[in-house]
């Protein structure tokens, strides 16, 4: 039941930080690219969502 014994045999732990950095940079690049390429008209519709809540004004 000792928690520490389960994972003691993983080798090459030093690769973890490198993996994490690569993952993040890739991920970040994709998000930037996607945000940059998204359609302006759609974006305009999206950003107005909080202002138009379909409420019936009396």
């Amino acid at each position: 039941m000792k928690f520490t014994t389960y994972l003691t045999k993983i080798s090459g732990v030093s690769i973890y930080p490198v993996i994490s950095l690569v993952l993040f940079v890739t991920f970040f690049a994709i998000v930037i690219l996607w945000a940059y390429r998204s359609d302006s008209k759609e974006i305009e519709y999206f950003e107005n969502l909080p202002l138009d809540d379909g409420q019936v004004r009396k």
Partner: protein, 706 residues
């Protein structure tokens, strides 16, 4: 297309808003009392239920989970239906959520004051409450996802992403950090020990700040700021980048709470790197908020709601600039264990969370009651008072932090420490008084708000439901030509949920898995042995009284710490510590090597009347420890639980444990008798002395590290 008619419910947002304000007042009041206690120990009243060690967790938990928690739910229950053009999925689940959460808050306050605590900061609640929180959180999740799945609006607005990301991450954090083995009803031991426990705890602690105090409130900002300003957010594209990079980065930054401790170096560096990177998305979000008001600054001058929002977003920017700076090792050397951390979190709590909440309820109440705000002028006064309160709170704390650092690290030309710890405590007390006054002023502002909102509610009539109409969502979605692939994700809430879980999961996993490799990362020290039964009981008293709120047990490898407190702490010393007790603030001295430093009688007198042994001390007295007896009936199950967690007590030791306990207690009593002190051997103070005298004594030199 035919318009469907439906109604938005205002009952739950109203209830959550009232709960937010009520618990806000309670949480801040407890904070003010605790702040004054640090300056005037007499305010501890000599009662176990009112000492600082028990009050402080009530303050932190109340502000985080009761005040901000209810604030989140107010925003969710108000904004999600309106953004998705559908009522909340289930009224019944909403009610269960509301009353369940309030019940947990009350139970939390009562049990914390009674001394039931796991001693893990912001996760102090014992296991039955942990389970209750999980259940209510699931109810909340079902209701939120039910609403999202029955929506009439295809696109999920960015605020909802923040709510979804927060929900799933908080669930993960809560479950992982609350892994504990119950010993009895309301007592458990953390599954993890020492370094691992510290890492899991601060992975949780940091992300509780991230995913409870920050991301849901960003959702709140992205909804209510455009609402109040009457214009859309400055850049929706930026908000997309803000969301994904923030949730991706935040989860990695936890180890920055453990710089210069016994945590492996690579994990410390990982925490630093990601913390520094966090500056980018945070400031992207801040600028997005501020730029939303471009060309509308004339409104800010007259509208207190926008004033609150502007300062809130500015405080977010300040705190998220300060955070990465504090993660640099050389800066952290100064800030860690000091009042700097306290100032930093209060810029966030008072400025960011507080001001956003105030802006939200000032905006919400007139709409819920179909009236105008009773007094705009009073709200403006609240704004200025609260701003003054924050300044008066934070500036003395920053000052105190640097002052204590310079005093702590000062050496005489002969190479001796220039100041005693007590000199430093004494010089900080005036700053504690100023801070407490700042907090009181801030609270006074909140009282004005309560009056203003009460009057507002009285002047109008509560609008139970609001009519709305929108076309139904067509089942078959015709993808517009050339639509971007991400719009695919935006339309799919469950995909979004899973994706954000994967994103935060990777961070948590990469960060934590290697630290479970204790055998390679932590040199075992053969002389480190499990606690004796009496010491274990004493340790539980140490935990119960919340000693960790003021005392650390982690000496960093600095000359001024080693000369003051003893040899620096090693990871291998904590392998049997379920839970770890490194602490996060040094209001009192470090205790990692207190063992053997003073005679038993010193501790006896000190716990009864701290000033008698340490003149000028601001520690409260603990008279009840001299009357209450240690329950020997619990020893058996405690030893048993510890062995299950991997502490090498010999088989069948449970049977002998109480005899050993008695023997050790008798020897302490005999020691005390030499100093003309008479006490029975079964009193709690004896166990506590046994624990304190054990601390740090397993390792005396560096030579026995294998």
């Amino acid at each position: 297309m035919e318009l469907q008619k439906f109604q938005y419910d205002n009952e739950l947002p109203k209830q959550f808003a009232i709960a937010t304000i009520l618990w806000g007042v309670v949480g801040m009041l407890v904070g003010v009392i605790a702040a004054f206690q640090l300056a005037f120990p007499v305010l501890n009243f000599g009662l176990e239920f009112t000492t600082f060690g028990r009050l402080r967790p009530v303050h932190t938990n109340a502000v985080i989970f009761a005040f901000v928690g209810n604030g989140i739910f107010t925003a969710v229950y108000y904004s999600i239906p309106r953004l998705l053009k559908t009522p909340m999925w289930s009224k019944a689940l909403g009610k269960i959520h509301f009353w369940g959460w309030q019940l947990i808050i009350v139970a939390a306050a009562v049990t914390l004051l009674m001394g039931f605590t796991t001693a893990k900061e912001y996760a102090e609640l014992e296991w039955p409450l942990d389970i209750a929180i999980t259940l209510i959180w699931v109810v909340f999740g079902i209701n939120m996802f039910g609403t999202i799945l029955t929506r009439r609006e295809r696109h999920l607005y960015v605020a909802i992403w923040f709510f979804i990301g927060s929900w799933v991450t908080v669930a993960m954090l809560h479950i992982v950090n609350s892994f504990e083995l119950p010993v009895s009803f309301m007592k458990s031991y953390s599954w993890y020990a020492g370094v691992q426990d510290a890492l899991v705890q601060w992975w949780y602690g940091h992300n509780a700040v991230a995913f409870f105090l920050t991301t849901p409130y960003l959702g709140l900002m992205y909804y209510f700021l455009p609402k109040a300003a009457g214009r859309p957010v400055y850049s929706y594209r930026l908000s997309i980048v803000h969301f994904w990079s923030l949730i991706f980065l935040y989860i990695w930054a936890g180890p920055h709470h453990l710089l210069y401790t016994a945590l492996p170096d690579w994990a410390q560096s990982l925490g630093t790197v990601f913390s520094v990177m966090l500056l980018l998305p945070s400031w992207g979000g801040m600028l997005n908020g501020l730029f939303t008001l471009r060309g509308a600054w004339d409104k800010v001058r007259v509208d207190p709601i926008l004033k609150f929002f502007v300062v809130a977003v500015t405080c977010y920017g300040m705190a998220t600039f300060e955070g990465p700076m504090m993660s640099l090792k050389n800066v952290n050397a100064i800030s860690h264990y000091s009042d700097w951390t306290i100032a930093h979190v209060h810029i966030g709590a008072l400025g960011w969370n507080g001001f956003l909440t105030f802006g939200m309820v000032y905006w919400l109440f007139p709409r819920l009651f179909n009236t105008r705000l009773y007094s705009v002028k009073l709200a403006s006064t609240h704004f200025w008072i609260a701003t003054l309160g924050i300044l008066l709170y934070a500036i003395p704390m920053y000052w105190a932090a640097f002052r204590s650092y310079f005093m702590m690290s000062a050496f005489t030309p002969e190479g001796q420490l220039q100041y005693q710890f007590m000199d430093i405590v004494q010089t900080i007390v005036p700053f504690y008084i100023l801070r407490a006054i700042g907090g009181t002023i801030y609270l006074a502002g909140v009282v004005l708000m309560v009056y203003n909102l009460y009057k507002t509610a009285r002047s109008g009539k509560f609008v139970k439901t609001e009519d709305a109409e929108a076309p139904a969502l067509p089942r078959q979605f015709a993808k517009p030509k050339g639509a971007h692939w991400h719009s695919w994700v935006e339309r799919r809430p469950v995909t979004l949920l899973v994706l954000s879980l994967i994103v935060v999961g990777i961070g948590g996993l990469v960060e934590m898995v290697p630290t479970f490799l204790v055998d390679t990362n932590v040199p075992t020290i053969s002389s480190v042995k499990p606690y004796t039964p009496l010491e274990l009981q004493g340790r539980d008293i140490y935990i119960k009284e919340g000693c960790y709120n003021c005392h650390s047990q982690m000496i960093r490898p600095f000359r001024y710490e080693v000369s003051r407190f003893g040899d620096y702490s090693k990871a291998g010393e904590f392998v049997y510590d379920h839970p770890f007790q490194w602490g996060s603030k040094r209001t009192g001295p470090d205790l990692a090597r207190i063992g053997g430093k003073y005679p038993d009688s010193w501790h006896f007198n000190h716990m009864l009347e701290p000033e008698s042994m340490a003149p000028g001390s601001i520690m409260p007295p603990y008279p009840w420890l001299f009357e209450k007896t240690v329950d020997a009936g619990t020893t058996n199950s405690k030893i048993h639980a510890m062995r299950k967690l991997g502490v090498p007590y010999p088989d069948g030791y449970e049977a002998k444990a109480n005899d050993d306990m008695k023997k050790q207690a008798e020897s302490i009593v005999a020691n005390l008798k030499k100093d003309k002190i008479k006490i029975q051997s079964d009193k709690e103070i004896i166990a506590l002395i046994a624990y304190l005298q054990r601390l740090g004594t397993d390792v005396k030199t560096k030579n026995n590290v294998q």
